[in-house]
């Protein structure tokens, strides 16, 4: 009997990451989140905590949720029985989440909605095990938020997007790593975003800038993507079909879908073997458009000073897109680094059938880039690999406040 305390002490020393009983911890953290006074700090100790349902923070101001460090405080939702997210923050102001890891949630990792001022720092969201479609959709998921900062975060294994910002404005995503997701980083129907100094690797698509129909925030744009290392995004697409990202071909570096005012520059875009950079309209998804207020055309997109490399292999994507490249476009192993679907909104064209300057797609000063206009609106009849028509500049200014 006398040995017991010593044994207990020994166990504590050996297990640096004790696993806590779930129900107690679930209630304890949830109670803290409910009772927190505005302006307070909620500290989560080091350890692996097994949680069974969504933790939520609602209606608070100026709250810091702080772990002991990424990979030190681990909130594991393996076997989650209630709620889809790991952590949900809603209707709040000035919230910071930092220094912790969220694992294996049934749905999204951390969802924040209607928050003005949301910062994630040194937060990891991951699905352990192989990337499969049963994984949750989004890792970090701010939606309908203003002033979003995602800094030095890691997302692994999301079946939609690892780091995703949707229907938000005033956004910075920097110094992050996104790996083995369908989309590494995605900015969707969002205004004024800067995405820089991130590494997006081994996803299906590295960095996506999308505008989709039927949403409350209709129009995104004013997005700058620069100084990122976007490489080896050739992972087979594992998104459940029906979701728009399920149509992104494996081997996509950067994709701009139906968004306007986007500048992509100074990125290393290497070994993304289908499309280093794709600029396409919503028509390429082949989804119906019922939203009369929706603008399906990309415009004022400026791609410059990026560095391109690819392996000499065929287009990597499968499905209809893969068929299109194999049987229709027939690029073989000489797949262009930059593709543009070439579908124009006739209302924006001048007398020569080209876009007026303010709508123009500009592609210039890229290193080692090849190009194709797919002429997709005309059954791919006049595919052009001549980039000269796009030699212009159309810089984008954002009003990001970080």
């Amino acid at each position: 009997m006398r040995l017991l305390p010593i044994l207990t002490l020994g166990a504590l020393v050996i297990c640096q990451q004790p696993v806590y009983a779930q129900q107690d911890m679930q209630k304890k953290i949830q109670r803290q989140l409910i009772m927190a006074e505005d302006g307070s700090v909620i500290e989560l100790p080091a350890g692996q905590f097994q949680l069974s349902s969504t933790l939520s923070l609602e209606g608070k101001k100026k709250i810091l949720i702080k772990g002991a460090g990424m990979d030190k405080t681990i909130l594991s939702f393996k076997g989650q029985t209630e709620g889809a997210e790991g952590l949900r923050v809603s209707n709040a102001e000035d919230i910071t989440i930092r220094d912790l890891t969220v694992q294996d949630t049934k749905g999204d990792g951390i969802k924040t909605m209607q928050v003005k001022g949301i910062a994630f720092k040194q937060v990891k969201v991951e699905w352990t095990g192989p990337p499969v479609k049963e994984n949750g959709a989004y890792g970090l998921y701010p939606v309908q938020c203003r002033q979003v900062l995602i800094d030095s975060c890691i997302a692994i294994g999301a079946s939609d997007a690892g780091l995703y910002v949707g229907q938000s404005s005033d956004i910075v995503v920097r110094n992050c790593i996104a790996k083995n997701n369908v989309a590494g980083i995605e900015i969707e129907n969002s205004l004024h975003a800067e995405v820089y100094q991130n590494e997006a690797l081994e996803n299906t698509g590295g960095i996506l800038v999308f505008d989709l129909p039927d949403l409350v925030q209709k129009k995104g744009g004013y997005v700058k993507v620069y100084n990122n290392n976007i490489h080896h995004n050739n992972f087979p697409n594992f998104a459940p079909k029906g979701n728009t990202v399920a149509k992104v071909p494996a081997g996509t570096g950067v994709m701009v879908l139906a968004t306007s005012h986007v500048e992509v520059y100074n990125n290393k875009i290497h070994y993304n073997n289908s499309a280093g950079t794709a600029i396409i309209s919503y028509f390429m998804t082949e989804n119906p458009i019922n939203d009369s207020l929706y603008d399906p055309y990309p415009s004022n997109v400026y791609v410059h000073d990026n560095d391109y490399l690819r392996d000499r292999v065929r287009f990597q994507g499968k499905g209809r897109m893969g068929m299109m490249f194999r049987f229709k476009l027939r690029f073989g192993k000489n797949v262009p680094h930059i593709i543009y679907d070439g579908i124009l909104n006739q209302e924006w064209t001048d007398g020569n059938g080209r876009y007026k300057p303010e709508y123009r797609i500009c592609i210039s000063d890229n290193n080692n880039a090849s190009f194709a206009n797919l002429d997709a609106g005309n059954k791919f009849k006049n595919v052009s690999r001549n980039m000269d028509l796009y030699d212009c500049s159309n810089p984008v200014a954002t009003t990001v406040s970080y």
């Binding site: 129900q23 209630k27 949830q30 109670r31 989140l33 409910i34 009772m35 006074e37 349902s53 939520s56 923070l57 609602e58 209606g59 989650q80 029985t81 209630e82 709620g83 889809a84 949900r88 809603s90 209707n91 949630t105 049934k106 749905g107 999204d108 909605m113 209607q114 479609k133 049963e134 994984n135 949750g136 959709a137 989004y138 998921y141 939606v143 309908q144 079946s159 939609d160 949707g166 229907q167 989709l212 039927d214 949403l215 409350v216 459940p240 079909k241 029906g242 979701n243 728009t244 989804n287 119906p288 019922n290 939203d291």
Partner: protein, 354 residues
Amino acid sequence: MQAVRHIVFCVLGAGLLTVLLASGLQPAAETPGAAPREMLSEYGFFTGNMADLVPAEDVVPYQLNTPLFSDYAEKSRFIQLPADSAITYDSVDVLHFPIGTTLIKTFWYPQDFRHPEKGRRLLETRLLMHETGGWKALVYIWNEEQTDAWLEVAGDRKPVSFTNANGHTVSLDYSIPNLNQCKGCHNTNEVMTPIGPTARQLNGDYDYASGPENQLQHWIKAGMLRGLDDASHAPRAPVWNDPQTGTLADRARIWLEINCAHCHKQNGPASTSGLFLLASEKDPVKIGIRKTPVAAGRGSADLQFDIVPGHPEKSILVYRMESTDPGIMMPELSRKLTHKEGLELVKEWIRQMK
């Protein structure tokens, strides 16, 4: 009685304030109507044996034509209005309840749905209290002895077992929401609001001690409701499982409204999805017809559209209603079981849709 209780509270409240100030804590910015009581019995909503839920004199029972499905739990609803006040009628939105109103909802299971006389088990009582600062939710969990219920902010889970209408034993981990989860559904423009008590949902008969009577008519007569002269002038929501009360489409739509539209509306928490399920929504795409999902993840089941007319098996809506996987199912809270009968109704509606 009301006045006496009020005075008692003021004294207690002032005492609490002193304690808070003395201990250097800031009191809440807006002093609410009442500090939550620890035990349900302290409110005096019920007389006699608490578990019998016999309402006090100023507490009135009510029901909804088509209620939210809550894992087959039965619900007993009551309303308490402050003295000398009345509800203001609204033909569309939730009725306007005066400050001081409490909505009281108790969740329970009979041992055997075929034999109610075998007894029941009360699990939780939820209060929605309308205070000067807005609506506030509180959850009280009943003890095993069924003598009283205690306040719990962080939620809980209780193993439950009952015999259903078909004589099968059903077991589940019944989930009691935490206070944030209350707001997860009771939310319009990020402000907490009741969901059920609209005129159309209340426009039906209730079996009062004095005999069956239309609820709105009863409220008008009792001076509880102003702005409506006669219940026959109010809209009426169908009863989802009573074909006498509405067409298949109307009943499917009211089922979707009460189960989904608290989030799936323009000013609700699921506005991000663009799927809006109020029965009054006219745009076919907004109710999901040939609408692509937005952030469904694996909830999409590899299907392309929320609703494909004629094809419930190809409709994401049906798939998510049927699932009990927390990453897929809808609604995402307060459900461990599939509402088989509601699912059948919606499937039939989609099957017959052209």
